[in-house]
């Protein structure tokens, strides 16, 4: 279990208790966090669940796999902390993670 905070583009915060093994995207959709669209449903096929990971958590969350990196080409305003939230699996290590939703998904 991990507590994850989503910050939407307007600065609104959403605290979610996420179960281990779920994805950061799934928890955002369940909570109705605005700006996480997940058009493809979590197949790493659309880049509409793009988030910025809190810099302090980058070593824990890790870098994207090559397939995700390819898909990030379709995201906008990609930064060094960009990840697709459907590819981040929740574990105890992510407790306290904050992710920020970009201004738009495309």
């Amino acid at each position: 279990m991990a507590k994850i905070t989503y910050v939407d583009a307007s600065g609104q915060r959403y605290d979610v208790d996420a179960e281990n093994g779920t994805t950061v995207m799934e928890n955002a959709i369940r909570e109705g966090v605005p700006g996480i669209e997940a058009e493809c449903g979590g197949a790493c096929a659309c880049a509409t669940c793009h988030v910025y990971v809190d810099e302090a958590f980058m070593p824990v969350v890790g870098e994207p796999e090559p397939m995700e990196e390819d898909m990030l080409d379709f995201a906008f305003d990609v930064r060094p902390t960009s990840r697709l939230s459907c590819q981040i699996r929740v574990s105890d290590d992510l407790d306290g993670l904050t992710v920020t939703v970009p201004e738009r998904q495309g």
């Binding site: 058009e39 493809c40 197949a43 096929a45 990196e69 390819d70 080409d73 201004e103 738009r104 495309g106």
Partner: protein, 352 residues
């Protein structure tokens, strides 16, 4: 399998058929089967260049676990099996085009026209358009709309339109690289912009592009387009934001962004059907829209209890067909039959 995928008629062609199916995703394909068992011929139209819809475009290699009878099957695997299953009914496929208008003719039939100027006349219409049509993604560059169709294009229809222009191509996939290679010889200058050094395009294209770069025939900028410069839709330059936050301007008169596809409802909204949050409300007996003879199945419809599963779309296709046959064959007495035991159905399937 390929025998069924004749790519429709040429521009200006008129196709007469019992049913037009809009969308060649799994539900549209299975509708060919259910309608075929009832002797209803089908023409299938899709904006993509191949059948399969989201299964083929978004997740061809991803496993699906909830198709009855298949503990696991990939998106493309399912499409291939469906194509095999509907082959006996010889549907015609009309690909890479979008239905633009749908109207009822005085006799009660429907006329549809596509953006490729193909016309269809049909007794029933089945909208199986999923999330809508796949259309190019628009990059969120402020004010880009003002340049679309004058200086910014999401596809190359005629290469000549880019001759002697200063081109800016954005992206790292096959479309971006293919057009870089094809347009470089006729462009006045060509700059490729991509946010990283790695390209996901075919290695051969990447090598050819790097050779052009080494020869000084094209320019490459690492970064993302953040701003466009120009007046009255005439582009003069673009600002590229680098990873380090630096901003540089590149002179250009034409821009081709390749950022993949997204789903948009598209012209369905203009056909006079009742809509609910971009979905088409239907009944759960026949899956008919607010218009007699126009049905909607799969992800694009809505009704109490609706869930967006492929298997639900299959069920919808079966019930829809039982009603469509009443329109296509108003005088025929339809007796419900099973494929396991009906020799008449087995003949249609070519198994006896």
């Amino acid at each position: 399998m390929t025998e069924t995928s004749s790519n429709g008629g040429a521009t200006g062609a008129v196709t007469e058929t019992d049913a037009v199916i809009i969308g060649a995703g799994p539900c549209g394909l299975f509708a060919v089967f259910e309608l075929g068992l009832l002797d209803i011929s089908c023409a299938v139209i899709d904006i993509l260049d191949r059948p399969g819809g989201q299964c083929a475009e978004l997740y061809p290699e991803k496993p699906i676990y909830d198709i009855p009878g298949y503990p696991e099957i990939s998106g493309q695997g399912l499409v291939d099996r469906l194509m095999e299953q509907i082959a006996p009914f010889h549907p015609t496929f009309h690909l890479s085009q979008m239905v633009q208008s749908l109207e009822r003719l005085p006799g009660g039939t429907f006329r549809l026209t596509t953006d490729m100027d193909e016309t269809f006349v049909a007794k029933v219409v089945v909208i199986a358009a999923g999330g809508g049509s796949f259309q190019p993604k628009r990059p969120p560059v402020p004010g880009i709309e003002a340049y679309e169709d004058t200086s910014v294009f999401y596809a190359v229809r005629k290469m000549e339109a880019f001759r002697d222009h200063d081109l800016l191509i954005v992206g790292g996939g096959d479309s971006a690289l293919d057009w870089t290679l094809n347009l470089q010889p006729i462009a006045r200058s060509l700059t490729l912009v991509h946010r990283r050094e790695e390209f996901r395009a075919a290695p051969d294209s990447v090598n050819k592009m790097r050779a052009l770069l080494d020869a000084g025939d094209i320019d490459f900028r690492l970064g993302q387009v953040s701003e466009l410069r120009g007046d009255n839709g005439q582009l003069t330059g673009a600002v590229i934001k680098g990873k380090d936050g630096s901003q540089t301007e590149v002179a250009c008169t034409r821009m081709l962004p390749f950022f993949g596809l997204t789903m948009k409802l598209g012209p369905v909204a203009d056909w006079g059907l009742n809509l609910d949050h971009n979905l088409i409300p239907v009944d759960t007996e026949k899956f008919e829209t607010s218009e007699r003879g126009i049905y909607a199945i799969g992800d694009i419809n809505t009704y109490p209890g609706k869930i967006k599963l492929i298997l639900c779309g299959f069920h919808e296709a079966a019930l829809m067909s039982q009603d469509a046959v009443k329109i296509v064959y108003p005088d025929k007495k339809v007796v419900f039959q099973y494929t396991t035991s009906s020799s008449s159905l087995q003949k249609k399937l070519g198994v006896i």
